[in-house]
Symmetry: C2
Subunit: 244 residues, 2 copies
Amino acid sequence: MEKQISCITCETKSCFIIQHGSAEWISIIDICKNQELYERGQYLFREGSRVFGLYFIQQGKVKVISTGLNGKEQIVRLASTGHVVGHRGFGFEVYPIGAVALEDTIACFVDNDKMYEAFMNNPRLTYAMMMFYSLELRKTEIRQRLLAQMTMREKVAETLLHLKETFGLDSKKNTLDILLSRQEIADMLGSTPEQVTRILSEFEDLRLIRKEGKQIHILNEKGLYDIIAAHSMNRNMQTWHTSD
Amino acid sequence: MEKQISCITCETKSCFIIQHGSAEWISIIDICKNQELYERGQYLFREGSRVFGLYFIQQGKVKVISTGLNGKEQIVRLASTGHVVGHRGFGFEVYPIGAVALEDTIACFVDNDKMYEAFMNNPRLTYAMMMFYSLELRKTEIRQRLLAQMTMREKVAETLLHLKETFGLDSKKNTLDILLSRQEIADMLGSTPEQVTRILSEFEDLRLIRKEGKQIHILNEKGLYDIIAAHSMNRNMQTWHTSD
DNA sequence: CGCGTCCTTGAACCGCGTCAAGCCAGGTGG
DNA sequence: CCACCTGGCTTGACGCGGTTCAAGGACGCG
């Protein structure tokens, strides 16, 4: 797949480059009018609210959540610079999920009509978008197995590796370039803060990680990988990292 | 959304009608050359094999499986007459999943090139297919929460309701019009046959269901619903039923 | 200094997976 | 027609992992 799939004209000008390998969109919506700043903790959109379009994250980090059983918050996906958010609602009446900024975030909004127009005029864009959904579907499915069949130890190990892949490391040290509370990590796994703490402490004892303040420093990536591999055999998959 | 989205010409002639409500394709591929019969237990395609195209089920029932951790079989989706199978692999090298006939099944195969050609020539078809993927994504996600947060009791109750929605009831009685082994039900939940048996027996004691031979007769649908609702609060969602 | 929030650790409970034994039905062969 | 065997279903006992509850500690903030 070549890189530049299509240029659609927003209000002013916008261009999406689809990097098919990572299945994420890097938006060069530099002149987009609908740019907006969301502060930490602020909602881009809420679960159940009407769908007006898609959000392209230009800068920042976002968690995509959905309210699960007995009010538990489930983190469906984490997204950062260059990712699309809101596509899970595209074509529907209301959003099945909400999106919250984890840190100050700049996002660009493109409304349904503009997207639809672009899709109708450019089959290749539509096709690319379809493939994007297809990939999302696969990732979600991989994650599904993760939730269904892994132990907590494995889930935590997997999640740490996933966080590294998604957000990378702080330039200074190997600390993950994302700050999540125990509660938030638990929300990704469908578990509890206590359990997360326990397992992280265990990993620290095993010299797999080190806690530095609230940051996490990965000492032995292969060790984490082994924890999963020991039980799973096949992790020839990309990370599950779904999107919304 | 209108019903008839597009007619693409297969080798001979074929026409897909997308019923957007159910997000399933009813294929009227009556003259399609690539029709083929698969007997119970036979694979339509296997996990890891090359992707050549999509399968439209004209008659029968199919389970879509993927090999999970430590070799456990995970049932990703059940499909029956009018459904599409294989779209999870579309656009990729190899299938991430396999499909097995649960009973004698007639499926029609359409190859990648034909699909691609149709997509390029008909943006509305592509758009509709994209929306189909989008819906699949939602369903998979709902199922994700199910696996992550429900207890086994709730999962079994949910699955019974799901089976009823998907396959309906035998005309004679309220028995589910699908025959699954305990093992297969367990594979849908990421559990074990023993656990499924236990819970089904419990449900029988509660007069929620009755076992008639190998068939299951649902006596009190609302009771099953209550089991889920008691703990979940909001089940304002469609069934999760994902596809492959 | 005191308060709130989050993290940490311990202890008790319980759901569920595992192992093992018994049961029932269908199929086969004597 | 019965004896036997086989495979799936059922039920019980047990142990482990994980959730829950509760108490104490670390840190930031007014």
